[in-house]
């Protein structure tokens, strides 16, 4: 049984969601193909994603993601809500990076209205966004290990997440859906003791990251499972609109914090870790090093955080952006989260399109899964970081 050559770059026959033709060599006995439905309730799909596989033995012929189980009609809902409500709606989608989602809505509205958040608010936003990024990456760091059978990193990751959630709770009052951003600034200033605890946490997490290095990155079996598995060339990644850590792992250092700095990212010093081969190991490695970079940014915020107000002195009573449109992109934890906002001068947006990284990551899955072994499905799926809420919106 022969499987058609995999195109290394460029177009796929049929594209994602389409069955890729399998050529069965004529002279041999055709083996029976098996259809296996992974999900919607499956431990390794992070929510309700379903992947329909056709298998030849344990080798995957085609993989078709089936999404929509968590579709919550964000686009339609936001046409019936005002801007403050949308902030609360938006942070539900990628539930692992709630602050990053809110930030985009606030920035888009601010840009249309011509408001600029005060200095301090911008620094704090950056601080929160980076902590949120660490929170998000820790989750994937842990769960990826778990999917490969290493259960300990998961518990370690949750230990660290617990600490960070406590920190976030101090400022925002929430543990997951922070709703801390406001159009124009922030809900409240940082509470007393927040920065001290934040500094302690940076040190603690930096120290504990060594555990992950020992348990996963330096682990022979982990390397055997991930090196050379699910190779995604940079060109293919781009053609699918893949952004964030997955794109970085494929060797493309595209990060809007660098190329189009928003907030105060131009004033802090950090690097964009990139991978060499674009395999599962690289994606994981990039994620790990992104945490280190986020911690670096957080430390710089500690040092540079100015005093001042957190909301502009004079805000209009009603948020009514003037007629116009804009697209704001932010480098969220998993990649580019963008908001395409069209306003007709009303309290509600005329159209708000949420562009999420997970949607594009998942649309690329059929490419990565073709021809891999079923156990590698996990090594691949786990390294294509996505949150189902972020896929379906």
């Amino acid at each position: 049984m022969a499987v058609t050559e995999l195109p290394t770059a460029g177009m796929l026959p049929g594209g994602p969601g389409e069955g890729v033709q399998v050529v069965i060599a004529g002279e041999e006995l055709p083996t029976q193909e098996m259809t296996l439905s992974i999900g919607p309730q499956h431990p390794s799909t992070h929510g309700v994603l379903r992947v329909v596989l056709t298998l030849d033995g344990e080798r995957i012929d085609t993989a078709t993601p089936v999404i929509g189980y968590m579709h919550r009609a964000f686009d339609k809902l936001s046409e019936a809500r005002d801007y403050r409500q949308i902030i609360a709606l938006s942070n539900r989608h990628d539930w692992l990076s709630a602050f990053g989602n809110e930030l985009g809505v606030a920035l888009a509205t601010e840009r249309l209205m011509g408001i600029e958040a005060p200095e301090r608010a911008q620094w704090i936003r950056m601080l929160m966004a980076e902590w949120n990024r660490v929170l998000n990456h820790l989750m994937f760091l842990g769960s990826f290990g778990l999917e490969l059978g290493a259960m300990t990193p998961m518990f370690y990751a949750f230990r660290e997440r617990e600490d960070i959630q406590t920190l976030m709770e101090m400022a925002t009052g929430a543990r997951m859906h922070f709703t801390y951003c406001r159009v124009g600034g922030l809900k409240e200033d940082l509470p007393k003791g927040f920065l001290q605890y934040s500094e302690v946490l940076v040190k603690r997490i930096r120290h504990r990251l060594l555990d992950y290095e020992g348990l996963l990155l330096g682990n022979e079996i982990f390397k055997k499972r991930t090196v050379g598995i699910g190779v995604l060339p940079g060109e293919v990644a781009k053609s699918y609109g893949v952004t964030g850590p997955i794109l970085h792992a494929s060797g493309v250092a595209e990060d809007s914090r660098k190329t189009e700095p928003y907030l105060k990212y131009s004033e802090v010093d950090f690097e964009v870790p990139v991978g060499e081969h674009g395999d599962s190991f690289d994606r994981f490695n990039v994620l790990y090093h992104r945490i280190e970079q986020s911690l670096r940014i957080i430390e710089q915020v500690h040092a540079k955080l100015p005093a001042g107000p957190i909301m502009p002195g004079k805000m209009p009573k009603y948020l009514k952006p003037p007629e116009g449109w804009t697209y704001v992109r932010t480098e969220n934890s998993l990649g580019e989260t963008g908001y395409y906002l069209v306003s007709r001068g009303d309290t509600k947006p005329w159209r708000l399109k949420m562009r999420t990284p997970s949607f594009h990551n998942v649309s690329m899955i059929p490419y990565l899964l073709k021809g891999v072994l079923l156990p590698d499905l996990i090594a691949v799926l786990g390294s294509v970081f996505f949150v189902v809420g972020d896929v379906d919106r």
Binding site: M34, L36, H42, P43, S44, E58, G145, L146, E147, L148, G149, A150, M151, T152, F155, Y156, R159, L215, L216, N219, I221, F222, K224, R225, L373, L374, P375, D376, L377, I378, G382
Partner: protein, 341 residues
């Protein structure tokens, strides 16, 4: 006097031994399971069970057992009913039989036990071909696994069972080869004889390669991490056990932990000097055996906290390309050693 009469009747002693073996078979997995709960928890910076039985959740597994018994025993509609129900027994019976031959101590000095009552000593039965018995009987469990996977009428179960069977076939060979090198070294197939032969030195020293192979192969036989692909939860839910509930599922779990204890015990007898102690040799042999079994079982648990799992083909490659050739060379070296010295 009545005690004397009782103990002088070999059949009564044999019955007593059987009862002791049965109790050990039921309790050792529970203790091990509890150690796994707590040990794993502390390695992962959490507490583990804390409620059942008040003191550090010591009764957790008993509570689990009660729960398993109470739960409904569901047989899927599409399943092959009889085979589905039979499979857990086929898995657990061979594992329990292995406990019969584990020697915990040396033979008694004066002994008049008639044939068939197992002789005198801390074991259930002393077969002439003990090690062979262990390997043969534990191979039967695979059939139960295949039956469970096939009869469940679930694709995940079937994949799990097929993986399990492939794994067990591949690792049966290095296991037997490593064990036969020990048998050659000791000059006997009897487990008691092999234990006796380690009076001067433990076989782990001359047979270090064999020991490592034996441990790796045992882990694979037991489907324990890093070789737990047959039940890889993130891929195929729970392999051949996916459709099982209640007491039948409990039997599968019991057999897993009993398997850890029994294979650790066999490794202790084959390599780690059985009941022979060191530094403090006045401690009785059975306690030494138990301590060593405990240490080896703990290693099995420890590995679970440390390693991710390998892939099926990597596992097969390891067996056929490395373990089996090394085991064969090991036999050859043992042979030369035996002939020369």
């Amino acid at each position: 006097m009545i005690f004397y009469h009782f103990f002088s009747n070999p059949w009564a002693v044999f019955a007593l031994k059987l009862a002791a073996v049965f109790i050990f078979f039921l309790t050792a997995p529970l203790v091990l399971g509890y150690v796994e709960h707590k040990g794993l928890a502390h390695m992962q910076s959490r507490l583990g069970p804390m409620e059942a039985g008040r003191f550090h959740g010591w009764a957790q597994l008993i509570a689990d057992g009660v729960k398993f018994i109470q739960k409904e025993d569901i047989v899927p509609d599409a399943a092959d009913r009889r085979i589905f129900m039979l499979a857990p027994m086929i898995v657990i019976i061979p594992v329990s039989l292995v406990f019969l031959v584990i020697p915990f101590g040396p033979a008694a000095v004066s002994c008049h036990a008639p044939a068939g009552t197992g002789g005198c000593g801390f074991w259930g039965e002393n077969f002439d071909v003990g090690i062979f018995f262990v390997l043969a009987i534990s191979a039967i469990s695979v059939i139960g696994m295949l039956m469970a996977g096939w009869a469940s009428a679930n694709k995940f179960s079937l994949i799990g069972a097929i993986r399990g069977a492939a794994q067990l076939i591949a690792y049966e060979l290095p296991l037997v080869l490593a064990a036969s090198a020990v048998a050659m070294q000791a000059g006997t197939l009897s487990l008691v004889g092999i234990g006796d032969a380690q009076k001067a030195y433990w076989f782990v020293f001359p047979q270090i390669a064999g020991f490592i192979i034996f441990v790796i192969a045992s882990l694979a036989e037991l489907s324990r991490p890093p070789f737990d692909m047959p039940i890889a939860d993130s891929e195929i839910i729970f392999g051949h056990m996916t459709e099982y509930t209640g007491i039948r599922f409990g039997l599968f779990l019991l057999s897993e932990y009993a398997g850890i204890v029994s294979l650790s015990a066999i490794a202790v007898v084959l390599y780690l000097g059985a009941w022979h102690g060191f530094i403090v040799p006045w401690i009785p042999g059975p306690i030494w055996t138990l301590a060593k079994i405990g240490a080896l079982s703990f290693l099995v648990i420890w590995l679970r906290a440390t390693y991710p799992r390998l892939r099926e083909d990597q596992l097969q490659k390891m067996a056929w390309k490395y373990l089996i050739p090394i085991a064969l060379v090991n036999i050859l070296l043992t042979m030369i050693f035996k002939v020369v010295f």
